[in-house]
Assembly symmetry: C2
């Protein structure tokens, strides 16, 4: 069990991506990932008021939809947006969503 499963770029499906981005919690996660341009830890340090396991679930949904890429890094996970893959498959979609979700509330971690 090295890297958790995620779909290949060509297998990313629009409805799944849309569904993954249809939840406020996941939208906020994605917005944070975008503002951090890449990395983030999943789980407790996400600054979202949800249970650990709930967060883990949301991260899984995002990953399995092809929105994020997770790298296991010791006992942490590095989660990154699959901007290039998404852009290759659905040009402009992620950018539009990120623009729509608005300025990330920021100041969370930094």
């Amino acid at each position: 069990m090295r890297e958790p499963w995620e779909p290949a770029t060509a297998d990313i499906e629009l409805p799944q991506v849309m569904h993954a981005l249809a939840d406020p919690a996941r939208l906020e996660i994605v917005a944070r990932l975008a503002s951090l341009d890449g990395e983030s830890c999943s789980g407790t340090c996400a600054g979202i008021d949800l249970h650990k396991s709930t967060l883990s679930h949301h991260y899984r949904v995002l990953r399995e939809a092809g929105v994020t890429h997770t790298t296991i890094e010791g006992r942490s996970r590095r989660v990154r947006l699959r901007r290039d893959d998404l852009a290759a498959r659905f040009p402009g979609l992620l950018d539009a969503v990120l623009a729509a979700v608005g300025p990330v509330l920021a100041d969370a971690g930094s």
Copy 2:
């Protein structure tokens, strides 16, 4: 009961729009509406193999999310995409989705 309810442009919410566009059936409806550039009848003549009431339900979800505008026209309904409103609120989003949903299978009506 003249025109069915739909949200004002400023009240269109991203999660609801995303959710409305996260279903294959609704995506196909939207794709058809886009290819027809505007109009369509809801219900039976949509060319989608779903029950009347199911179609009606999907049309309602789209309308209440702010994706479509419905005009009652006798016993029919004219459904149109709210392209301008969507573009004003979430620039590029609908375009990206329409591009992503791919070439509409067409030959539906014409």
